[in-house]
């Protein structure tokens, strides 16, 4: 139990709709240890993003509980959950989600500054250099290509040395070449830093690179099996 960084038990999410209550996630449990990687796959509307939101503490389940880095998320208020996120969680989004008003460096510094770290600038610079954007520190998101923006987002996600990295279709908005490059970077960084990775994708090849693949259909877990990476190991 000691090594478990993310632990979800009997998660359900029910939302009200015009036709009565709609169950978008039903009785889902999972446990991830440090360094694990999990791919969540499924068709659109299968509940992938909902599960990601619950695991990351962006939303609360209707029933069940999530323990993230030892914190029972359901017992925390939104500000306390934000603090847990700031300390333990990193994000990569499909649409990059950089702040237009900040340049690349500032975007990467943001989570460090939220933690109040003094070496924010140095670390952010180092990470941007690591993702190959050392020459574009002061460019604003609009001046960057999609792949470059996602690299900034990757740098941002790893900046605060998160225990768990949540990635929501990180290559969904990119061409296959750029996507492959981002994927490489993602797994390299993951390996280097021993981060736990939770990845939502419908890209089977990407999913297979994780230790485990969790398949969702209509909000239910239909299959969990080891990915290729686990098999190789």
């Amino acid at each position: 139990m000691n090594a478990s960084i993310l632990n979800a038990r009997h998660l359900s999410k029910v939302v009200p709709s015009a036709e009565g209550e709609l169950s978008i996630l039903a009785d889902l449990s999972l446990q991830l240890n440090k360094g694990d990687s999990l791919a969540i796959v499924g068709t659109s509307g299968s509940g992938k993003s909902t599960l990601l939101g619950l695991l990351a503490g962006l939303d609360l389940p209707s029933s069940g509980d999530v323990h993230l880095a030892g914190h029972a998320l359901a017992e925390l208020d939104e500000d306390q959950r934000a603090r847990v996120r700031a300390e333990h969680v990193g994000f990569v989004f499909q649409s990059f989600q950089l702040l237009d008003s900040l340049n690349a460096l500032e975007n990467v510094m943001l989570p460090l500054e939220l933690e109040g770290r003094r070496d924010a600038q140095a670390r952010a610079t180092e990470l941007l250099e690591r993702v190959g954007l050392g020459a574009r520190l002061h460019h604003h998101p609009r001046q960057l290509s999609g792949g470059e923006q996602q690299r900034v987002a990757l740098a941002r996600a790893f900046a605060a040395e998160p225990d768990v990295l949540f990635a929501d279709e990180p290559t969904g908005n990119l061409d296959s070449h750029t996507g492959a490059h981002i994927t490489e970077l993602l797994f390299e960084l993951n390996r280097e830093r021993g981060t736990t990775l939770v990845l939502v994708t419908h890209d089977e090849r990407l999913a297979q690179r994780c230790h485990r693949v969790l398949r969702l259909e209509g909000g239910r877990q239909v299959d969990t099996r080891p990915g290729e990476r686990a098999v190789r190991q």
């Binding site: 993003s49 990601l52 939101g53 990351a56 962006l58 939303d59 939104e78 500000d79 934000a82 603090r83 847990v84 996120r85 700031a86 300390e87 969680v89 994000f91 989004f93 499909q94 649409s95 989600q97 702040l99 237009d100 008003s101 900040l102 500032e106 943001l110 989570p111 500054e113 939220l114 933690e115 604003h140 609009r142 941002r156 929501d168 279709e169 969904g172």
Partner: protein, 829 residues
């Protein structure tokens, strides 16, 4: 077309259900409601005040002349449905068996007066009451005639060859209160008896007055109809120019109310501009999709135009109804204070409100809407593709022009419109430019600032043009509010100064030179506030630089009136209080000259086109006297002080037979002393102007009240618009808030960032507003209000007020952004 219409309606309903239209609808609603309410409030109060002012005429409009009005002129008025009364005034010697007294006689028909009422007492010095005038065979006279001729009620007097029985003592005629110069006692008789007096013969000096009453439109039509056939001797007077004391105050109040409506329209424009831009921006994706699905560019545009038009119409109509209801509520609350009939405002303010909403919507929604047509269909694939920027200058220029036209049409006051619009535009350009530069400079400073500041200001500084636009919009809102607040204070002060509690309530005429010193002593004992005794010599201006004035002066000008009758000429060593030299010098600085100097009142000088150094010739007591214009004075006609068109240098008219005049404030409870004074100086004429003062005070109180409430209205509208405007800038902030929360930012940080952002935005807006307000107020004071402008240091508080106001409104308004679920970031992707 029908297909598009149906589609537009369907989309509108869908958007409405999705809450997409709330901001624009709300902004339009507030804008139209505010401008309609203020429009109605102003129009109706103005009407009410004009009604009060009408009392000074005894009618809404008077056609006066030295010969009877032509029958066609009278018929034209009657055809328009106006009520009519007829008055004939002349001087006549009133005879009793023992004595004679010159009196000014007024013969009026039974409908006189049409506005206000006659008041009379059963016996001299008894309590007065409002009653209809004397019937045929009867006459009323003022108490001083009873005293002069030793008459009693029931006695008979002869007016010409007609004997009339005195039935009551005349104490008040509504249309005489302001006329200080009628020195002889008044006798009022019925018009039916006039012919029997045999006094009115061809050539005798008689004044005919046709009184009219009716609604504004009919009156305006009548006035228009009269203009063509107006004879040289005839003159039209209306309530607004009936009395200088009232006219000044009313004119300013009217302009103030106008300005308030204009400010409301300006506010609407800002609100609509902000939310229309948002409306369009949010439809970039949808319009690209429609284009992809095969809708032509023209149809896409048309679709959104239709949608916007329907929305605008609905919001405007609802807003107008709301505004109409609001002003009714207000008048209901004020019913005890106003205590009189308030004329309905008609349809015009509502129509103006709706038109304002639609024009502002068209004007300000057009540029972004036009952009919608240019959204490349490729945007469905590449979201970063933005429409080609429209030629904003052209379209905004049209919008501003349209707004200006509405403002002008509503206020009928080109000066105010230009001052407000031009000043605002100038301020916008100048300040917007410097703001932009400032923002760019601030970007460099920001690098080392705390996170919350960088987060808050980053947004502003990244998009300096948008930030400058927002600051300008909020600045305009603050400017409109500050300007109305500023003018309110100034107007109330002016009115307060105009009628202090110890304003003169008595005028004294005909003090003989021999009695002058003794009289001054008595007055000094009676009142602390007496004006100096001014000598008065009646004289007529006959020539300017040797040219007879009759040939120089245009008809119906002030100059024409001034030369038609005797002027009260005076001389004085000192410049009278309340007078201000605007050109030339007072005597001390003048030195010796061949001809004596004369100081001329500035407006008369302008009307007669007089310049310094012009030689004026006066006919005084049958002799000709020349003088040189040595200075021009501004005279405060609103004060109850003796005022003069012409003041001569001392020792230049001394040899002429003069009497003296003055005015003083008689403290309450000293009426007995006044009667003793009158007995001691039987030749002196004492005129009470207490009634006029009371009426003036009540009008000013009403006007002040109006000004106060309109200010509240404008402030409320301003706040509402501010809020609506903020809502319009919310989207980006909600997204940013959600992302920051996902990354682990706490509320406190977001709150700090918002505070920094809105505080700075508010401070910048406040600064713009302060500078703009000084600029516009200087223009307005000079051109529209005839007030003297001084800097207003308190405007320096505006940046702080702006920061607090926009800051707190911003935080309140963007609570949604703070509370936005971080999950939204996932949804968005």
């Amino acid at each position: 077309m029908t297909r598009l219409l149906v589609l537009a309606l369907r989309q509108l309903l869908r958007d409405a259900r999705a809450g997409e239209l709330r901001v624009l609808f709300f902004a339009l609603l507030v804008a139209v409601a505010a401008s309609t309410a203020i429009g109605y409030f102003s129009a109706r109060l103005n009407g009410a005040m004009l009604l009060r002012a009408s009392e000074f005429l005894g009618a809404d409009m008077v056609l006066s002349g030295s010969a009877p009005a032509a029958p066609e002129q009278v018929e034209a008025g009657q055809r328009l449905g106006l009520e009519h009364a007829q008055v004939v005034e002349f001087s006549s010697v009133i005879a009793t068996d023992e004595a004679l007294q010159l009196a000014s006689v007024k013969a009026a028909d039974s409908t006189y007066p049409l506005r206000g009422s006659l008041r009379s007492a059963p016996r001299p010095y008894q309590a007065e009451e409002a009653t209809p005038g004397p019937g045929p065979g009867e006459a009323w006279a003022e108490a001083r005639l009873f005293a002069a001729l030793d008459l009693a009620i029931g006695d008979s007097i002869e007016v010409g060859s007609k004997a009339l029985r005195l039935t009551r003592v005349l104490t008040y005629e509504p249309d005489r209160v302001g006329d200080f110069y009628s020195l002889t006692p008044r006798v009022l008789m019925h018009l039916d008896d006039l012919a029997a007096t045999d006094i009115v013969q061809p050539g005798s000096r008689v004044r005919y007055r046709e009184l009219w009453r009716g609604d504004g439109e009919a009156l305006a039509a009548y006035q228009q109809a009269l203009k063509a056939g107006l004879q040289a001797h005839q003159r039209i007077e209306t309530a607004s120019d009936s009395n200088r004391q009232i006219g000044g105050a009313l004119g300013r109040a009217e302009r103030y109310l106008n300005l308030a409506s204009l400010a409301a329209i300006l506010l609407s424009g800002v609100a609509v501009a902000l939310s229309a831009a948002r409306f369009a921006a949010r439809r970039f994706d949808a319009s690209a999709l429609l284009r992809c699905l095969g809708l032509s560019r023209r149809d896409t545009l048309l679709l959104y135009a239709l949608q916007l038009g329907m929305l605008g119409l609905l919001a405007s109509l609802t807003g107008a109804l709301l505004g109409w209801g609001a002003q009714h509520g207000l008048f209901f609350l004020l019913r005890d204070l106003l205590a009189q009939e308030i004329p309905p405002g008609g349809l015009w303010p509502a129509a103006a409100g709706i038109a304002t909403g639609l024009v502002a919507l068209t004007g300000f929604a057009l540029p972004p809407l036009a952009a919608l047509g240019r959204v490349p269909p490729l945007r469905v694939l590449r979201r970063d593709l933005l429409p080609v920027p429209p030629s904003a200058w052209l379209v905004y220029g049209t919008a501003i022009l349209a707004l200006g036209l509405i403002m002008w049409r509503l206020s009928l006051d080109l000066k105010i419109t230009l001052a407000l619009l031009g000043g605002g535009l100038l301020a916008t350009l100048l300040l917007g430019g410097s703001l932009l530069l400032g923002l760019k400079a601030a970007r460099r400073l920001l690098a080392g600032a705390a996170l919350s500041w960088r987060l808050g200001l980053g947004q502003l500084l990244r998009h300096p043009l948008a930030a400058a636009g927002q600051a300008l919009a909020f600045g305009l809102i603050l400017l409109a509010m500050a300007l109305i607040a500023l003018l309110r204070g100034e107007l109330l002060d002016t009115w307060q100064d105009q009628l202090p509690d110890d304003a003169p309530n008595h005028f004294v005429l005909n003090v003989l030179p021999a009695e002058k010193d003794a009289f001054a002593e008595r007055i000094g004992a009676l009142s602390d506030h007496a004006a100096p005794l001014y000598p008065v010599v009646p004289g007529r201006l006959v020539a300017i630089n040797d040219e007879p004035v009759r040939q120089l002066v245009s008809k119906d000008s002030q100059g024409e009136r001034a030369i038609r009758r005797d002027l009260s000429l005076t001389w004085s060593a000192e410049l009278p209080k309340d007078n201000r030299l605007i050109e030339g010098q007072w005597w001390d600085a003048r030195g010796q000259a061949e001809l004596p100097g004369v100081s001329v009142e500035a407006e008369l000088a302008e009307s007669l086109q007089l310049k310094l150094g012009d030689r004026l010739s006066f006919s005084v007591g049958g002799l000709e006297r020349d003088a040189v214009v040595s200075s021009l004075r501004e005279v405060n006609w609103d004060s109850f002080q003796p005022n003069f068109y012409m003041i001569f240098e001392p020792d230049t008219l001394q040899d002429m037979p003069a009497t003296y005049m003055t005015s003083f404030h008689l403290p309450p409870g000293k009426e007995r002393e006044l009667v003793e004074l009158a007995r001691a100086f039987p030749s002196v004429t004492l005129l009470q102007v207490e009634a006029l003062l009371a009426q003036l005070r009540s009008i000013l109180a009403q006007v002040s009240l109006a000004v106060e409430y309109v200010l509240l209205f404008v402030l409320a509208a301003g706040l509402a618009v501010l809020f609506a405007g903020l809502q319009a800038t919310l989207d980006e902030r909600i997204r940013q808030g959600a992302l920051l929360r996902a990354l682990g930012a706490e509320r406190r940080l977001l709150l700090k960032a918002r505070r920094a952002e809105f505080g700075l935005l508010g401070a910048a807006s406040g600064l713009l507003a302060a500078i703009g307000c000084e600029l516009v107020s200087a223009l307005l004071y000079h051109y529209a209000f005839d007030l003297r402008w001084q800097p207003h240091p308190w405007l320096l508080a505006l940046p702080i007020i702006g920061a607090l106001l926009v800051g707190s409104a911003g935080i309140l308004g963007t609570r949604r952004a703070l509370n936005a679920s971080p999950l939204a970031v996932l949804r968005d992707s």
